[in-house]
């Protein structure tokens, strides 16, 4: 049996309403871009329940679940077309796999009950769970559980999972929904990645027991949290990764200690993509050296304002403006915000995702080129026109141009193309100063790993490159 689906953000929001798991990783594209995945991903339990619903609809089975063991191996990103496949291991056991182009994303084993559960005494409330804000990471183990109300809002549940709603106990469905709410909203909460679940469902007893969860184990070396759940519906263990928070760059106080106060005096610099990461550090280094900075953002207005506030609070000169070089009004936006500027630092990037390492992904290459090549040349030429060819450009390239990593050929090739553009600009505008900096792997949202940080000093590296671009 097989089923296919593409999850879109509207689907993820509907599931968030059903489950109460409003973790921004699933529902907020601006916040999700600062996670290790770079964009919104589907709730693992959503993908699991969709696969089970599709396969249950096809098989016509009405058997209740006795046990579900699932591993959420890879993220299911919004927009990705996935395939669910089921194999019968025995009369009561099914193995379910969700994959994308042969890559396994989710693995699940389902054991069905020998006989369906008896009279339905449900502890799940037939209403939408209240909307809450995810908790900060909590890792302390406890011996007593915290209570959580179970919800199975029948109307929305039937809409999203009709076959499961018809066949399974509301308590079993509510327990599955509660598992994602526990991980995404409670423990670890906001900075979490759901890794696996094992739930044994029990026939309904005569009396109901409250559903509880508690942190049973914390594995510090791999940053994993084991959460025990128990209640009328069953009991089990959930494992989640405590995801590192978005990478914070040095603040202005730290930057000003390292940058001579007049190092970039009288420079007026447009920093494209200056709301976070390398662009954020560049904006701060330039402002700390007394340059006037206009930094742009595409989505992260709050991040850009945070950077501007940090700079201006220490008497630096900075403003922020929204710019998307793929939108028709980009020239108008630039003209309105950067009329008197003649320097450009170019840092914007799409999520730096890898290819499959064996074939060249043209679509991915084009996605990078739209930003690194087309966007870069367009903005640089606009600046050339504004300043009669007397301007200065800094392009953020990468050492990966020299030795592309296995997974990042498309990224490295697009950056190499941006360097070719630098050489072209230098030839086309003899009065211009064009500089391409090959950065090593620095510590940013784009390079953040679940296990280790970058090895270089972001601030020192940026100061050296900007100084090489604008010598005294």
């Amino acid at each position: 049996m097989q089923a296919e689906r593409t999850f879109i953000i509207a689907d993820l929001t509907a599931f968030a309403e059903l489950s109460g798991d409003f973790n921004p990783l699933h529902t907020d594209p601006v916040a999700a871009r600062r996670t290790q995945f770079g964009e919104c991903v589907a709730h693992g339990v959503f993908v699991l329940m969709w696969a089970l619903d599709s396969l249950q609809a096809q098989s016509g089975s009405t058997k209740h679940w006795a046990k579900i063991s699932a591993k959420f191996l890879r993220p299911v990103k919004a927009g990705l077309k996935v395939t669910a496949t089921a194999k019968e291991k025995s009369a009561s056991e099914i193995s379910v796999t969700v994959s994308e182009a042969g890559r396994v994303l989710l693995q699940c084993d389902v054991t069905c009950a020998e006989s369906n559960f008896g009279k339905k005494i449900t502890s799940a409330r037939n209403e939408i769970p209240p909307r809450a804000i995810p908790a900060e990471a909590r890792i302390e183990t406890t011996t007593t559980g915290e209570a959580l109300d179970l919800f199975w809002p029948d109307k929305l549940g039937v809409k999203l999972f009709p076959a499961l709603a018809a066949a399974q106990s509301p308590d079993s469905l509510a327990a599955l929904l509660a598992s994602t709410q526990v991980i995404g909203m409670k423990v670890p909460g906001e900075h979490s990645v759901f890794l696996s679940l094992d739930i044994a469902f029990t026939p309904h007893p005569a009396i109901t027991q409250p559903f509880t969860y508690r942190v049973a184990e914390y594995r510090k070396s791999s940053q994993r949290l084991g959460v025990a759940i128990a209640g009328t519906a069953g009991h089990g263990m959930l494992w989640a990764l405590v995801r590192p928070a978005p990478v914070a760059q040095p603040d202005m106080a730290a930057v000003m200690q390292r940058v001579p106060e007049d190092r970039f005096r009288d420079r007026r610099v447009i920093v494209i993509g200056g709301s976070r990461g390398l662009g954020e550090i560049a904006a701060k280094v330039l402002a700390a050296g007394d340059a006037e900075v206009a930094l742009s953002y595409r989505l992260g207005g709050d991040d850009a304002n945070r950077v501007v506030t940090d700079i201006t609070a220490r008497d630096g000169k900075a403003t922020a403006f929204q710019l998307d070089t793929a939108c028709a009004d980009w020239e108008k936006n630039l003209a309105a915000n950067c009329a008197q500027f003649n320097h450009l630092c170019y840092f914007p990037t799409p999520p730096i995702v890898g290819g499959d390492g064996s074939t060249f992904n043209t679509e991915l290459f084009e996605k990078f080129c739209n930003v690194y090549v087309a966007g870069f040349v367009n903005v640089a030429q606009w600046l050339a026109k504004q300043n009669a060819g007397q301007f200065s450009v800094f392009n953020a390239s990468t050492v990966y141009v020299e030795s592309p990593p296995l997974r990042n050929l498309e990224y490295a090739a697009a950056k190499a193309a941006s360097e070719a553009c630098c050489r072209w600009l230098a030839a086309a505008y003899p009065k211009a100063r064009v500089y391409a900096a090959r950065f090593p792997r620095l510590n940013t949202d784009q390079t953040a790993s679940f296990l280790s940080a970058g090895e270089h000093d972001n601030l020192e590296t940026m100061l050296a490159e900007l100084s090489a671009w604008l010598p005294t």
Binding site: R103, Q107, L195, S196, K220, S221, R224, L241, L406, L451
Partner: protein
């Protein structure tokens, strides 16, 4: 248990794994895959790996070595 049984689903490959295979040769061997490998070993041996062991799991040879040090023999199928 064989290396392939343990690692292939996490590394999105059906090709028999060799001791020299690593993060440099297997595209899917990223930090999330590394954590899933840690979880699989810890589930099998019942103890928590040290931070040094967790960070070292970047090649098939190292996975075999760490598993063996905790009493889990992983055999290699690769011909």
């Amino acid at each position: 248990m064989t290396v392939d049984e343990l690692l292939q689903p996490m590394l999105n490959t059906t090709v028999p794994l060799r001791p020299t295979d690593s993060r440099e040769t297997i595209p899917a061997w990223d930090s999330l895959a590394q954590i899933n490998i840690v979880a699989a070993i810890e589930d099998a041996v019942g103890v928590e790996l040290s931070t040094a062991e967790v960070l070292s799991l970047k090649s098939v040879a190292k996975v075999v070595e760490v598993a063996r040090s905790h009493g889990l023999e992983l055999t290699i199928n690769a011909s």
